[in-house]
């Protein structure tokens, strides 16, 4: 982890309100794992005051140039400021931070994405393909326009779901997951789930995984101040009774953002 200067190579509105940001980074930034994040200064101005944590959509190294990509939606002050940063703008970031996805050998990875939560899973899918490991990618969004990155998903089996039925299954990606589990010949010993998306979806995926004893890692999202474990501003509530609980709150920035979804008390997360 380091504080490094970066500059905007591209900051493009992919679909209304959703942006793909490419940042050129120096070699001092070590190679990130899928699911790790960066704490980004979204503007050279004093406002917004705090950095914003973003999962990486990808890490690229071509011709000696290193870059990271962030896929984000304009949801508040920070992302609005970020969307206004032009090509060439110099910013800085702290990273790579946190714990990423940890696929186990010889298990079939099932990736479950909801909306912009697809970002770290695209990174994971690319990595799995590099290692020639087949995977299942289940991706749900409100409509066809929000199915960002589907053409990039190669080396795996892709199933889509939309709330409006414009593409793929008309309904929730959770149903796709239930079907996959019932018909895909998986068992808790042969498959595992990696998920990211709205916390409501992650909660449902976690319940399904817990009911059936499936290993399930989810990437969480939340406000952070320091992002290095010092301020204790990003507590993750754990379910009562799980051994990891012990009357404490793990810091999302340090023990996450990817965590065992079945131990998280989703109802107490904002």
């Amino acid at each position: 982890m380091n504080l490094v200067a970066c500059s905007v190579l591209e900051n493009r509105e992919v679909t209304p309100g959703n942006f793909l940001l490419t940042l050129k980074i120096p070699r001092a930034f070590s190679r990130p794992e899928p699911g790790q994040f960066v704490h980004l200064r979204v503007s050279p101005e004093v406002e917004p005051l705090l950095r914003r944590p973003y999962s990486l959509e990808g890490f690229f190294e071509r011709g000696g140039i290193r870059a990271v990509r962030i896929y984000y939606s304009v949801v508040g002050r920070g992302s609005r400021a970020l969307a206004a940063q032009p090509k060439g703008q110099r910013l800085d970031l702290i990273g790579p931070l946190g714990i990423g996805f940890t696929p186990r050998p010889r298990r079939a990875p099932i990736l479950v994405a909801g909306g912009r939560g697809v970002a770290p899973l695209l990174f994971l899918a690319r990595k799995l393909r590099e290692k020639k490991r087949p995977f299942v990618f289940l991706f749900g969004a409100r409509g066809a326009r929000e199915l960002y990155g589907v053409r990039e998903i190669r080396g795996g089996r892709l199933h889509l779901a939309t709330d409006d039925g414009s593409v793929g299954y008309h309904g929730s990606v959770l149903t796709l997951l239930e079907r996959e589990w019932e018909t895909g010949g998986h068992t808790p010993l042969t498959a595992e789930i990696f998920t990211c998306g709205p916390h409501g979806l992650l909660h449902e995926v976690a319940e399904l995984a817990r009911d059936r004893g499936i290993r399930c890692e989810a990437s969480l999202e939340g406000p952070m101040a320091c992002a290095v474990g010092a301020c204790r501003g990003c507590p993750v509530p754990l379910r009562p009774g799980v051994p990891e609980n012990g009357g404490r709150y793990p810091a999302m920035c340090l023990e996450g953002p990817v965590m065992d979804a079945t131990i998280v008390e989703w109802g107490r997360l904002p």
Binding site: A230, P235, Y249
Partner: protein, 333 residues
Amino acid sequence: MTPASAPSLEVRIGSLALRNPVLVASGIIGYGNEYERLVDLSAIGGIVTKTVTRHARAGNPPPRVVETASGMLNSIGIENPGLEGFLEVKVPILRRLPCAVIVSVEGEDVREFCELVEGVSGSGVAHAIEVNISCPNVGPHGLRYSTDADMAREVMTAIRPLTTLPLLAKLTPNVTRIAEIAAACESCGADAVSLVNTFVGMAIDSVSRKPILGTVVGGLSGPAIKPLALAKVWEVVQAVDIPVVGMGGITMPRDALEFILAGSTAVQVGTALFANPTLAEACVEEIDAYLRRAELTSVVDLIGALEVPPERGQIRAGRSVPSSGRRESGGAS
């Protein structure tokens, strides 16, 4: 051009000599190691640790932080490993830090304050102790000791004989007359007062009709509070003779100078360090550059050097303030 000899940045808080007056505030930098790769601790005066309480605390339910206009509202709730955990896990980490270590402690009652001061003092790792009698986020007793001069006196009187380390009383700004509390701490042997802790604040989500923080209210910090903090520092500087450690909203290196001009012997950098981890080092550089420009040999010459025209210093909030005459003005000579 011949460079002038480097100005001295050293300041003293009781028996503690700091190589420069820039500290990182409690609750910002943990116990130092979390920020080791981001902050050059050898370049700053020291750090104040995350507050240690008698027993371990899990902290408050989420959400604990929210950004507000030019500020941050928090309700961390002093998540910490407690005195035993501190001695076992944190002391070895603190021992190898290349800067002064000021350990922040907070008890639920006078007895706990005593046990903490004895424990921390006995660890040998602390260069000073900051007595946090002002956290807004720790339940029914929060704020109690620093909103009431008698209670502040009770704590300070009890702990003073227990250690020879400098004691800094950390004060809350959530009082009508902060100078009275500061004077009470001084009279009971405090070596310095640190101010300000956060201002009690609240953020509301009008869509969900819910408070944003898990604890409804929390403490406000960041640039939004700097003018409020400066005014409190200014008020306290008039009332006590012990050093004042000033803080509240330092965001730009120049802000540190403002606190020193207002009478702070040292300053603490807080929330803005989250955005800019090199801020504390930048404050040191700014003070050094300022002294060189002003051709001053020591930062001590800058402490309280605010030039207040006599007719302007006498009126505050519509009423006359008796001139204390305790501190000489650094005005036109």
